[in-house]
């Protein structure tokens, strides 16, 4: 493994710090336990949850494996409804286009709804640097923004904060009286953000799905901030990863409840919306312009890897994060990249530099809970294995490890050498050398008592 990269070392340090933070562990595990109970209830609304997963996997397989056709159909329909489509090869292309659009329209204030894709391209920083005030309106994202921190989890941005933390943040940054009543805190945010919605020039959202046959984007939320973001400002921009495509409107009859169930345990979130274009003649309000930015940014690289292509089926529900025992102990910030948890570990070496990000695929015990949790049946933990194999093939591994495995192979190919090796291992334990050789493991644990005989020896003797 490439512990040598700076990114990997930072991860190890951050993971070690968080793994011993018992308060953090308690907060996260309580939040996830609540989630687990809600999801268990939510799944009972399906006649057959496993079959629903298979249906969803089939819909996404069809789309991703014919992606060019669906992208072209989607674009045709968006244009026919009076919207605009911009194709962005890189994060920089997307940022520059949105900035140019904002400048052309004299945009001074932007309201944003929660979008991991806009996190991925670091859009907020670009807008702020250009002097455009950018306000996150999802409560969790708003709290992160005030604190100057990125979101902690792709679905629940402030899972790691207590009421008291949030109360303190509002008190310090907004000057509001110290209250840790969740309702009061929410109403503070509501009042502040209402003004921003009313005065913003542009609303920026992501999209949970992009529907090819009607040229619409679908947005899933509970608060109503996305609806306000695409209803009040005069321009609406949606940043959409190319993998968000689905073939037909009717597919949402499955995918909406699937996303809600795996995301929060709800049958449907409070608002499942569809946007097809700007305000039409006869409509009383709505933006004058609707812009879709279709983003590649490394997705075609992942698409080209036929073995791991199904990672593009991801509907960003967060179930794999919540299932992962590593995530539950180290939390979201430790990953130090936009997409966290198992899906993040799988896709990041494809979307970003493979050498810098392969360590995430090793930071797993391969337990497989993620694969079982995924509502669209992505083979997550096996892809971690694939990433490990790719990493070795590309020689990102340390030469000493390569040498070790060659030596180990040489030993395992001969019963004689294997037997000697086994005896040495047992001797090393008995003499106490193993304790320092296996130091990372023995740091917190006792080694087993070495047996007098191996099974081999017992069999020869006793049969």
């Amino acid at each position: 493994m490439n512990t040598a990269t700076a990114t990997a070392l930072r991860f190890k340090r951050a993971a070690a710090a968080k793994a011993t933070d018992l308060q953090h562990r308690a907060v996260i595990q309580k939040a996830i336990a609540t989630y687990d109970a809600a999801v268990a209830r939510g799944k009972t609304r399906f006649a057959d949850w496993q079959n629903a997963r298979s249906h969803a996997a089939a819909i996404k397989w069809e789309t991703i494996n014919h992606l060019d056709r669906y992208l072209e159909q989607f674009e045709r329909n968006v244009l026919a409804n009076g919207g605009h489509v911009f194709w962005a090869e890189t994060a920089e292309d997307a940022r520059q286009h949105i900035l140019a659009l904002a400048r052309r329209h004299g945009v001074q204030k932007v309201v944003k709804s929660k979008s991991m894709t806009t996190e991925e391209i670091h859009l907020n920083e670009a807008l702020e640097t250009a002097g455009i005030k950018t306000i996150e309106t999802d409560l969790g994202e708003y709290i992160c923004q005030i604190r100057g921190e990125p979101p902690y989890h792709i679905v629940t941005p402030v899972m790691h904060l207590t009421k008291a933390d949030i109360a303190q943040t509002f008190h310090e940054k907004l000057g509001t009286p110290l209250t840790d009543n969740a309702e009061e805190l929410t109403m503070i945010a509501r009042a502040r953000l209402r003004h921003e919605f009313m005065t913003a020039d542009m609303g920026i959202t992501g999209a949970n799905f992009a529907i090819a046959d009607t040229g619409m984007i679908a947005l899933t939320e509970n608060e109503g901030n996305a609806r306000l973001s695409f209803s009040l400002p005069r321009i609406h921009v949606a940043v959409v990863g190319i993998e968000k495509l689905i073939p037909r409107l009717e597919d949402l009859a499955l995918l909406w409840p699937l996303l809600s169930t795996s995301g929060t345990g709800q049958a449907l979130t409070a608002y499942s919306s569809l946007i097809g274009g700007p305000r039409q003649p006869g409509e009383t309000d709505g933006p004058q312009e609707f812009h879709v930015v279709l983003l590649d940014n490394g997705r075609t690289r992942l698409l080209a890897d036929a073995e791991q292509r199904d990672a593009l089926h991801c509907i960003r529900c967060g179930a794999c994060l919540n299932a992962c025992p590593i995530y539950k102990n180290v939390g979201g910030y430790t990953y130090a990249t936009t997409y966290q948890g198992p899906i993040g570990s799988v896709i990041t070496p494809h979307l970003r530099d493979a050498h810098q990000w392969s360590h995430l695929s090793y930071a797993s015990s391969l337990c497989g809970a993620c694969t079982d949790a995924c509502p669209v049946r992505i083979d997550l933990h096996h892809h971690l294995l694939h990433n490990r194999r790719n990493s070795v093939q590309r020689r990102f591994d340390q030469p000493i490890q390569r040498l070790m495995f060659r030596a180990w192979l040489w030993a395992m190919q001969s019963p004689g050498r294997y037997t000697v090796g086994g005896k040495l291992a047992r001797l090393a334990i008995r003499l106490g050398w193993a304790k320092s050789l296996a130091q990372p493991w023995t740091e917190g644990r006792e080694l087993p008592e070495p047996p007098e005989q191996s099974f081999h020896e017992w069999w020869k003797q006793t049969r």
Partner: protein, 192 residues
Amino acid sequence: MNPARENILARVQAALRAQAHRPAAPTTAPIFPPVTNPETRFREEFIALKGELIDGAEKLREFLKPFGRIATDDTQLVREVIGDGNAGPRDCDLGVTGCDCLIAQTGSVVVSTTSTGGRALSVLPPTHLVIARRDQIVPDLASAMALLRKRYDSRWPSALSVITGPSRTADIEKILVFGAHGPKRLVVYLGS
């Protein structure tokens, strides 16, 4: 014309030349249990979401009394039942709209820029009242999609929302709070 479009499509096509493993096919069994009594189911689901139901003109009059500033969309059923509004969406304390349909499976109200005139009236006001008819109840999401497809396939509204309960958030320690940004109260008047 930005070359990005051609570049991306070309990369997609090149990528798809390699075949990906196809997952096992699903069975044809229904994904959701059938909804046997749509109106009962709608009422149960809607109430469980903390929606409020109003039956009968008398109850509606009672409900409307405390609201001084009412904004309405200009749709027919709303005009018949409520009459004219006296405020706009931004300064009202009650927004009244029609709807496209009601979904029993999830207790949802479907609104669009056609059935409510615009986008903001069903999300800005602190309380949202929907004037609906019993015959607007459909069993499930699939039938709602079919209804919308039939009604709008030649000209889609620019925006639709499937509303499932009042606005809510659980971002703060998973504690449920209503009225995060959208209406704190969602009310449906079910006429005949």
